[in-house]
Symmetry: C2
Subunit: 260 residues, 2 copies
């Protein structure tokens, strides 16, 4: 193969572009081994340094894994669907979402989670979303979810301590019916939520907790849940590694706009 | 200041952690100048190399900008709200979303967009979402949206050529009432959409088109629009740089679950 399409770009970029195309088109499949550095030097007639820059670029984009001394491999992406709407609506309402979820279903994968509970001063952004006063404390449930033994995502849920103090939410155990149901029993049923999603590079703590490889950005999904009276009673912060998730929503046109 | 909290981490990490905390807490404000390398060497009693590694880490996370010879600065994040629900629902239905949008409103910023239209063979993932047969072509409207002269995001919308061939969608101009309305006039009103969001490092082409700095991941938002009969008639791919956007949805509990 010769690389001539993008003559104005540096050679390492052209090689990275060619490999990226083979990966995204599926010509090079997940887990496939890339040609060795020596093979690529011969194939493209370039220096070892140029080949290494091309490979480093793809590692940085999260497309390729470097597993020395065996070589470089196409990264397998087996994303899980994160579906924020599921908490207020038990099943998808359209055949498209049904098909989509089936496609990405993690068949046969073993889920597990580790839960810690703590009473803390809220981070500033949480305090603001919960309309807390200075000095108010929160209970936080910190969960790391694993799939087949690998950390998949982090979910930290914050509740005003004043309303959950003596409830099940304070116990570091799974709540089968969900923390939302416990809040409802305490008189704080959430009827609305506002979701914010930020796209970021991970902090070192997130790299560590989620065992992230280089070039793996994260989605930070922040949900604020409100009661019918508009009182915010929960902030859930979920950190979703980009190589392991697709976040999905379904939407319907509102009836009142039908004729617009 | 002395850094002792995280004694088990390497020194450069501890310095990066300390600075990150000052940035995220707001103690160091957007556009603030960080201490010089010399000041940090004195302050922490470390080598120039250690200071540089700490700063490089924060540049990589997208928190700090290196503007030599002036020094390092806290990156200003002025995110725009990307609100996919707006196309099917003209106004937010909750006071929380109203407040949220006001907070992030880009007051007084000058919007502009550049539009190109082309007839192309669809990328494989678009062909699949539009249920196209091999050989079917698509019309694509490629838009780059600018705010105050800076590229903000890219939106590429694909339509089956067979249904939009002679319509306004083929003209490289803004469609004041929106492409969705044109599709409706052609008999293809979209009543449902499925949104997928992927979190990735940008490709070199995206870095170039969006003028992205190092350590800036992107959200890739893919919307597929369906008619009442379940026919997919539009795929819109929006590339949202993580440093310039927050993606937001509002959700309501379904009435049928009220008593659950």
């Amino acid at each position: 193969m010769t690389v001539t399409r993008l003559g104005r770009n540096p050679m390492y970029q052209q090689i990275a572009d060619a490999l990226r195309e083979q990966i995204t088109s599926g010509e090079l499949e997940p887990d496939a081994k890339l040609p060795t550095e020596a093979e690529m030097r011969d194939q493209y007639g370039v220096s070892r340094e140029t080949v290494r820059k091309a490979l480093a670029q793809l590692v940085n984009e999260g497309l390729v894994i470097s597993a020395r001394p065996q070589g470089h491999f196409v990264r397998r992406r087996q994303p899980m669907v994160f579906r924020p709407q599921a908490e207020f609506r038990k099943r998808p309402y359209s055949p498209e979402m049904d098909a989509f979820m089936t496609e990405y279903a993690g068949e046969g994968r073993e889920p597990r989670q580790v839960i810690e509970v703590a009473i803390v001063e809220p981070p500033e952004d949480v305090a603001k979303r919960l309309h807390l006063e200075p000095g108010d404390l929160v209970a936080v449930r910190k969960r790391v979810r694993y799939l087949d033994g690998e950390p998949f995502n982090i979910n930290d849920s914050y509740f005003p301590l004043a309303i959950v103090r003596d409830s099940e939410i304070m116990r570091p155990e799974d709540i089968a019916r969900g923390a939302n149901e416990v809040l409802a029993e305490l008189g704080y049923r959430q009827v609305r939520a506002l979701d914010e999603l930020y796209v970021r590079m991970p902090t070192p703590e997130q790299v560590h907790r989620l065992d992230l490889g280089p070039g793996t950005p994260v989605g930070v999904h922040v949900t604020t849940g409100f009661t019918g009276e508009g009182q915010p009673v929960r902030v859930a912060v979920t950190v979703l590694p980009g190589d392991r998730h697709v976040i999905s929503y379904e939407r319907q046109r509102e009836a009142s706009n039908e004729g617009a």
